[in-house]
Amino acid sequence: MTGSVKSHIKQAFPAMVIVLIMVIGTSIASEGFLTIPNLRNVMTQTSILIVIATAQSFALLTGGIDMSISSVMSLTTIITATFSTHGTFGLLSAILLSIIAGGLIGAVNGTGICYYRIPAMIITISTQVFVKGICLILMPSSGGKIHPGFVRFMRIKIGMFSMPFIIAVCFCIIAFFILHYSRFGRNLYAIGNNELYAEQSGINVKNNMISIYMLISITAVMAGWMLAARIASGNPLAGDSYTMDSIAAPVIGGISMNGGLGTVVGTFLGSVILSLINNIMNNLGISPYFQYIIKGSLLMVSLMLFQFRRKKVL
């Protein structure tokens, strides 16, 4: 491992420790936890979050944020559920259509941010609301059907791993290489560190920003497919809960909300932590409402920790 990768991975240490403590703690406290079906269950539940949080990490690393991903996911489930029942051709057209839709939304986000100087938070909330409207018009309540072959494919199990988890891990590895070993990734970190300096160093910030937001939206489309396969239908609100979790996971994993610091290894661990909380609470029979409190406090603590460490560096 060379260059600055090590220091970025260091950011994920607290998350690693938390995961370890949680796994060991619950294995002792609850017998049902350390069984293959349960672990596979946790991993499957995490997989969509891992994909979407990885996409969100790209936005956070540039110092931005993408709030529109939840609507893009919902839209994808709707498009897939509407078209994919018409045989293989239908499935292919659903894939194509949702990618085009995702790419377009990403392009609008990126253009708004770098050409019109709208804060990322604002423009992406606007597209989120806009796309949500489209979703509700197209399909006011849950319905449609997903291509059965696709659903079956996503339910394949290989040993203790399920297909969605394998996809998510592959996805994370690819993202890691893009971030640390490609020009595009270097530019992304540079922009996150300081946009002005990046521009002065001869990086085409505007083009890069648009590509980044398009990439995020298209990743959200992929997460949307995974979600569609899981719920086996289209749903205009299916993606809603993912906005907040997709931000929480990278932050818990040590990605700076100010940009330019952290890695997807952290995002992966952050996602696992969020799903573990879910699973452990369910296993221990604690009300799901408490999960919000735990998630909220975890987020607060990791943000505080971040500020504290930041100060020490300065």
């Binding site: 260059g3 490609s182 020009r183 560190n193 001869g202 330019g260």
Partner: protein, 503 residues
């Protein structure tokens, strides 16, 4: 040596909000030549260099590269033509390694992928060419010293394979030995036909590296000479030799014995060292020096924005702890920031609201602000200080710099401070307002208020202050009573000749 000129600037003018900062400047750069650009703060050196490197657009004038007229639309384009600028304030990515910073935008590797090992090897070679091979290219920029950052910045500019390399104060964070290595590098690249332009206050830099010296004063070239036909003294006198105009109100002859504010052995990590400082009641104390020698830190920590790390802070003879602006205001201090737009005013709010922003409690009845009282107060302030506004509901962002500055002064004066800290009070404002502010300062000190003025305008410093402290690298390098002060004396202390010799 004089072949064809690489770059030529002809009759360049630059105007900033009605201020002409560059007047009819023409410059020719030949291959293999070292050009020194000297001049005081604000003489227009950086402006000129920014225009040449594409960072700024001239108001009028033309730029030729290899004899062809070009219009540079950004520093990126300037780089494409082979013009690279090593800025004084460093633009490095602190979470990346030294090597990644040097090679940014030029990463080696196949297609889209980066070969990290090759990248760092290439960066190491570049550093070696510059002459500093001992820097760890794998170190993160946030962990290296200021001097190493400076060198990284130079290697980064060198990596663009420039034909013209511009240095802005290249040795400001280097020690003697490191500077010499840099001079060696500059002389080497001159031999292979690269044109070097050096902006520096340190005359040593100029004499070790340049063939030709140009002096800018108030935006105009006033002196040009080949380096062997001139001397440091001549350059200094060319830089400062200005007529004193009688624009400053008379000073007080004797300093008051009563001390309003005193600093004893004040330090701040890496920024300020052992500052001792006395502000007598009813006098103007000037703090001078070149830019970036700790003035910003000192002025801001006096007002508690970033507190001192050690030392004693005394107000009216009593030791106080001022850790925030809130405490500073309670101790009857006032502060005028050098960044008027960002820190001085609430730009979108009205003149009225800005002028009364610090005394809202005086203008309110049981928690509610009385609009009538606010309006009357604002009108009174505006007429007292001759602030020109068509309507007090007008946002302050529409006002001229001079009027904005007067509003900041007036809003603080409403809090009836004992000590007023002014940081660059007349930067970027018109002459008329300047004179009014000088007169205002004098009126206030006559009434017993003390003023600490931080300014890089030498004439202002001498013209206003009863006593002058000069800062150099975070230390007070000398103090002069205002009556004895001359520009040359202050310049000497600012450039700290003696200390450099001792090293």
């Amino acid at each position: 040596m004089k072949h064809i000129c690489i770059l030529e600037g002809k009759n360049l003018f630059k105007e900033f909000q009605g201020n002409m900062v560059l007047k009819n400047a023409s410059l020719q750069c030949f291959p293999g030549e070292g050009i020194a650009l000297a001049g005081e703060n604000g003489a227009g050196k950086s402006t000129l260099m920014n225009i040449i490197s594409g960072g700024l657009k001239p108001t009028s004038g033309e730029i030729f590269i290899d004899g062809n007229k070009v219009i540079l639309s950004g520093s990126k384009q300037g780089k494409q033509y082979g013009i690279s600028f090593v800025h004084q304030e460093l633009s490095l990515f602190k979470e990346m390694t030294v090597g990644e910073n040097i090679m940014i935008g030029r990463e080696p590797g196949r297609k889209r992928l980066i070969d990290q090992q090759k990248l760092h090897k290439k960066a190491k070679e570049l550093l070696k060419e510059v002459g500093y091979e001992h820097i760890d290219v794998y170190a993160l920029v946030k962990n290296i010293s200021p001097a190493q950052k400076q060198i990284t910045e130079i290697a980064k500019a060198w990596a663009t394979t420039p034909r013209i390399l511009i240095f802005d104060e290249p040795t400001s964070s280097l020690n003697k030995k490191e500077s010499e290595i840099l001079f060696g590098f500059i002389n080497r690249i001159k031999k292979i036909g690269i044109c070097v332009i050096v902006i520096s206050h340190r005359l040593e830099d100029i004499f070790s590296t340049c063939d030709r010296v140009l002096v800018l004063k108030d935006g105009e070239f006033v002196f040009e000479s080949s380096i062997d036909k001139t001397s440091p003294d001549q350059i200094i006198s060319q830089m400062v030799g200005r007529e004193f105009k009688n624009i400053y109100p008379p000073k007080q002859q004797n300093l008051n014995k009563e001390i309003a504010l005193e600093l004893r052995e004040i330090c701040m990590e890496n920024k300020l060292k052992n500052i001792n400082f006395k502000v007598p009641k009813g006098s103007v104390i000037g703090v001078g020096g070149l830019e970036g020698q700790g003035q910003r830190e000192l002025s801001r920590s006096l007002f508690g924005i970033k507190p001192f790390t050690s030392g004693h802070y005394l107000i009216q003879g009593k030791e106080v702890q001022i850790k925030s602006p809130y405490e500073a205001v309670k101790n009857k201090l006032a502060f005028l920031s050098d960044d008027r737009k960002a820190e001085g005013l609430f730009m979108p709010l009205s003149t009225e609201k800005n002028a009364c922003s610090l005394i809202l409690n005086k203008l309110s009845h049981s928690g509610f602000i009385s609009t009538v009282r606010m309006k009357n107060k604002a009108q009174k302030i505006i007429s007292q200080l001759h602030i020109k506004v068509s309507d007090i509901k007008q946002p302050v962002s529409n006002l001229s710099g001079g009027n904005q500055q007067k509003i900041i002064l007036s809003k603080w004066l409403e809090t009836e401070p004992d000590v007023f800290i002014l940081h660059e009070p007349t930067r970027g404002i018109d002459v008329q307002s300047k004179l009014e502010i000088y007169q205002l300062i004098r009126n206030l000190t006559d009434k017993g208020m003390s003023v600490i003025i931080f300014t890089s305008d030498m004439l202002e410093l001498i013209g206003l202050s009863e006593y002058i402290y000069v800062l150099y690298e975070g230390e007070i390098s000398g103090e002069i009573p205002g009556i004895n002060a001359t520009e040359e004396k202050i310049m000497r202390l600012s450039a700290k000749h003696e200390k450099d010799v001792k090293k």
